[in-house]
């Protein structure tokens, strides 16, 4: 499956103007990959326990902090334009994997390499502020995704148009339903024309019609060379969008390969249990 791989070690980074320009100018960007090499990630249990007395106690007694291993030795790679579906039960490590890919967290061991600009749709409402209006949130989000002022104002109308919530765009975000928030978040993310789009589940709160629009839009991005990594339980959608699939179980890769094969096993496994 590996056809071409760049040797450069660029990790996730803030896109420069040059990157953006290059992205706009070239219709066919160079292959950009995500690669995970032996990635493990654990979290401290009782994450609230950041109290001085707990630190002091574990330092004095030498007791290791209790950890929870969210990912164990995960290795895979995704080529540009190839989309990856991530499936698994709740708590299998899907979100952790996406967070690492987005550069939001650092792995304990192993190396994550990601090349290109990223837009992530992880938690509903992440990146939004409830007291700002839709318009203000769009501007803020576009800036967060690394768009320049010029690009943002060029894209603004099409973002609002795509979201289909023009009538409410000047209302504060706290009055929005979860579907409306998704619409806005998705619209900004796809209009940023990212090289890599990471989606964690949240499309499921959209209505049928908007989900259809999302799928078409993702297909458009893919045909322009973008890569999609999507964690979801909506297997029908994954089959339509992704060529490759990764099945996680208790933080380990249970199976990886073509979407049809992996999802067939995944679904029959669920029925047996």
């Amino acid at each position: 499956m590996v056809t071409q791989r760049s040797n450069s070690e660029a990790t996730v980074r803030w896109p420069t103007d040059a990157d953006r320009q290059e992205q706009l100018d070239t219709l066919k960007p160079a292959p950009k990959v995500i690669s995970f090499e032996g990635i493990s990630k654990s979290y401290l249990r009782n994450a609230g326990r950041t109290l001085v007395r707990h630190r002091l106690k574990s330092w004095l007694t030498g007791a290791p902090a209790e950890t929870f291993c969210a990912l164990k030795d995960v290795t895979f790679e995704v080529l540009s334009g190839v989309s990856l579906a991530v499936v698994g039960a709740n708590g299998a490590g899907k979100s952790t994997l996406l967070r690492l890919a987005a550069g939001l967290a650092a792995p304990d061991s192993g190396r994550v390499r990601v090349q290109g600009t990223i837009a992530a749709l992880m938690e509903l409402g992440a990146g939004f502020h409830p007291d700002l209006t839709g318009t203000e949130n769009v501007l803020l989000n576009a800036a967060l995704l690394g768009l320049t002022r010029k690009q943002t104002y060029e894209q603004f109308d099409s973002i609002v148009e795509f979201s289909g919530i023009k009538d409410f765009i000047d209302e504060p975000l706290r009055t929005y339903s979860s579907g409306m928030m998704l619409r806005l978040a998705f619209s900004v993310a796809v209009r940023a024309n990212p090289d890599i789009l990471l989606i964690d589940e949240i499309l499921s709160v959209g209505d049928q019609q908007f989900q259809r629009k999302c799928i078409d839009e993702i297909k458009r991005l893919k045909s322009a060379g973008s890569t999609l990594v999507c964690a979801s339980h909506a297997t029908a959608m994954l089959r339509e969008l992704c060529q490759q699939a990764l099945w996680l179980e208790h933080g380990e890769v249970r199976m990886s390969g073509s979407t049809a094969t992996v999802l067939d096993c995944y679904e029959s496994d669920g029925r047996v249990l």
């Binding site: 803030w14 994450a47 001085v52 650092a106 990223i118 992440a126 502020h129 690394g146």
Partner: protein, 254 residues
């Protein structure tokens, strides 16, 4: 590192903080004028009627010269310290240089600094003080305080993620500052062996240079200017170093 989309982001973050702070309040920005006026009024009452100090003329303006930098310390340190926690939904969304959040927070409170500074200038002119050439120093001095606060918040903001107690320490530090900055007393009243220590505090140094320039119409003393150019930069350097070393694990604690 400072490319145009970072500046666009910074600008949006600053605007966001500023909008959110007063969005749901009827008086809006007027609060940032009301607060120092109230403090000035009460301190003037106490120190001219109850504990009068005849060595200080025009007590109200004398106090306001120090209240403006002090208010900025108190606002910026509390806003900057919680900035990472407040912006966690943004931090979880996208990878960007995270040091931008405390800095944006300090810059958005510096809009209040400017408003309060304008109030000070307005009152000075109303009370018959003249513009003099040393006023050219004022923007530089304001700038040093902003740099100092960025340095402080780059330290306290990530520490607050690991130990949520930090914000209360910072709140306490504002209270200590209120007494240790010569707000309602003059530097002359401080025993001379403490004076250097006092002026090493940039907030005190800003207040003192303000008085020299605005009230005495004199050039700011070279010693104070030197301290003001060194101390904030040292804090900024330490702040950046601390931030960098704590940044990596940040997301796991949010």
């Amino acid at each position: 590192m400072l490319n145009s989309n970072l500046i666009f982001l910074l600008q949006n973050l600053v605007l966001k903080d500023f909008r959110i702070r007063y969005r749901n309040m009827s008086l809006g920005v007027a609060w940032s004028v009301a607060n120092p006026l109230l403090m000035m009024g009460i301190l003037t009452f106490v120190f001219t009627r109850i504990l009068p100090n005849p060595s200080i003329h025009h007590f109200a303006l004398f106090v306001l010269c120090a209240l403006v930098p002090f208010n900025f310390y108190s606002l910026a340190s509390s806003a900057g310290t919680v900035s990472l926690l407040e912006n966690q939904s943004l931090i979880k969304r996208v990878k960007c240089p995270r040091a931008i959040f405390p800095i944006a927070s300090v810059l958005s409170t510096s809009l209040h600094l400017l408003i309060q500074f304008a109030l000070l200038i307005g009152l000075l002119l109303i009370f018959g003080h003249q513009v003099n050439r040393y006023w050219f120093w004022l923007p530089v001095i304001l700038g040093t305080e902003v740099v100092f606060m960025c340095g402080v918040c780059l330290m306290t903001a990530p520490l607050d993620i690991y130990y949520r107690d930090v914000r209360y320490l910072v709140e306490a530090s504002a209270l200590i500052m209120f007494w240790l900055v010569p707000i309602f007393y003059s530097l002359k009243m401080i025993p001379s062996r403490y004076q250097l220590l006092y002026t090493l505090n940039p907030i005190a140094a800003v207040a003192l240079t303000f008085r020299q320039i605005l009230l005495d119409a004199k050039a700011p003393s070279a010693g104070l200017l030197f301290q003001l150019s060194v101390v904030p930069l040292v804090f900024l350097a330490i702040g950046l170093a601390v931030f960098r070393s704590l940044e990596r694990e940040l997301a796991d604690y949010l």
